[in-house]
């Protein structure tokens, strides 16, 4: 039971990060390498806000607003212009962004280790074993957020417009969709999701500069599941979380990253576009 709760909680965090990456990829065809860094930066902001005695009902909306602002800034300054360019350009812009955000974090948060202390602490009884309350909180919270993103994507009007932009940008523009705004909103949602994921992670574990590795793990989850599949990211996140858990339990902890990578290599050998991704094969060669 303890193992189950742990895996589910990790799975939820990776899935939340991952569905942001997939959302961005679907609407703007850019692979967002900076997702992890942005997540940690926003988590740092929330931790600082809480640490400075700001009441929770102010700190949470403030950090959400910070996430939205970050999304708008990132989209407006960096990525609006690279919409039509080959995907490599967008990728490298996010790489530059990741480096810059890392530097900003060094300047402002200078290598500190922080945690997000909410009122949730201690342990509780669940199914016969005693599990940590924070784990359960993170589990519930992250999965609720993932559900929120999925609901938005599938059921709302905004989600419909996002799906239409994801399929065919030109046709959407011809139908009067404000592509700029829709893509910008998808970036905002994705970065807010990243902020939430980073914060949830900070509730369970420590936030440090190196924690941005969760972005890489979420990226691996997306790659395994399929870059353009929202469903795939759930499966991929499960595989990453599960393999990580197994590796750190039965081997040493420093092999924790090794297992997902090996999984990725196996998937890439047979289906480079992911388990659920659309086949991107050139059949002529």
């Amino acid at each position: 039971m303890l193992a189950l709760v742990t895996i589910l909680a990790t799975w939820g965090v990776y899935a939340l990060l991952g569905c942001g990456i997939v959302l961005i990829y679907r609407t703007s065809r850019v692979l967002n390498i900076a997702q992890g860094e942005l997540a940690i930066m926003l988590a740092y902001c929330l931790a600082t806000a809480i640490r400075s005695q700001l009441p929770l009902y102010l700190a949470l909306p403030a950090s959400l607003a910070a996430g939205a602002a970050a999304g708008i800034i990132v989209y407006w300054i960096c990525l609006r212009r690279v919409m039509g360019e080959p995907p490599f350009v967008g990728l490298m812009v996010t790489v530059g962004l990741a480096i810059a955000v890392h530097g900003i974090m060094i300047i402002f948060f200078g290598g500190r280790f922080m945690t997000i202390d909410l009122f949730v602490a201690g342990s509780m009884q669940l199914g016969g074993t005693s599990v940590s309350k924070t784990d359960v909180f993170v589990l519930v919270g992250s999965w609720l957020s993932v559900g929120l993103v999925f609901l938005t994507y599938r059921l709302t009007k905004l989600g419909l417009l996002m799906r239409s932009v994801a399929e065919n940008v030109t046709l959407s523009a011809q139908r009067g969709v404000n592509v700029d705004r829709i893509v910008g909103l998808s970036w905002v949602i994705a970065i807010m999701a990243a902020g939430a994921a980073g914060s949830f992670h900070g509730v369970r574990a420590v936030i440090a500069l190196a924690t941005a590795i969760i972005g890489i793990k979420a990226l691996i989850a997306c790659l395994i599941g399929g870059m353009d599949s929202m469903r795939g990211v759930l499966i991929g996140a499960f595989l990453v979380a599960g393999s990580e858990f197994v590796a750190s339990r039965y081997f040493e902890t420093r092999y924790a990253l090794l297992a997902p990578i090996v999984l990725l290599l196996i998937v890439l050998a047979f289906r480079p576009w992911g388990l659920f991704g659309t086949a991107e094969e050139i059949r002529r060669v």
Binding site: S164, E167, A173, R175, G176, V179
Partner: protein, 272 residues
Amino acid sequence: MSEPLLFVENLEVVYGHAVRAVQGVSFSVDEGAIVGLVGLNGAGKTTTIRAISGFLPTESVKVTDGQIRFAGQFIVGWHPYQTARAGISVVPERDKVFNTLTVQENLEVALAATMQAKERSGQRKGYSTLTEIYELFPSLRARAKKDAIYLSGGERQMLAIAATLLTNPRIIIVDEAALGLAPIIRQQVLDLLQDLNKKLGLTVLIVDQDVLGVLSIAEYCYILEQGHVVFDGRSADLLQHGDVQEFYLGKAEGEERGYRNVKQYRRVRRWY
């Protein structure tokens, strides 16, 4: 007679500093009329449509001369969604519908995007809610929950036209209405367009290679050839014109023509 709804004046479009796709093209579309713009491949029809709707790729393709006036506004340089909101709706040649969305969702996208354009209520044409559209296209209602990828060619065209109707257009530009469709479906589509024009007073600009089909429903027609307008006139007059008959409608009068009288040669000699 008031000013035409769409007035293209002396348009020149250049691809990559090198190729003049359209040169000195002028035409106008009056409100409530069906106008045809026909020509063979490479005549510059799609380029003209792109120039009007704002879809010219910005880097290498430029409108280097001329102006386009739509409802009194100069629209060269407008973004695609701005022209769409202003009321220019294009049914493109390929990729007419969203394949991964259902029929219902396709229509909802068109509706959702132009909800902000409700302030143009003075120009509402009717057929701007889903129920009305479904009345007009019962076959779409039967397939409302199906993914659009499963529709046949003719149904896809219907869906595309239905979606453009939902965007509350002032003018519909149909690019290659009948491409890849069986002749009977082709006729249905053209009849539908004529129907919409009569019932709603919708302005239609048909751009096609099928000269005979267009001439049968359009009131006024322009014929493009290699980026220039070479003929224009009322359909009835064009149908009687000897050159039009010979080069576009496939009729030839008189005796068998020899090599020196073959189309290509004569065409090159005659107009340039």
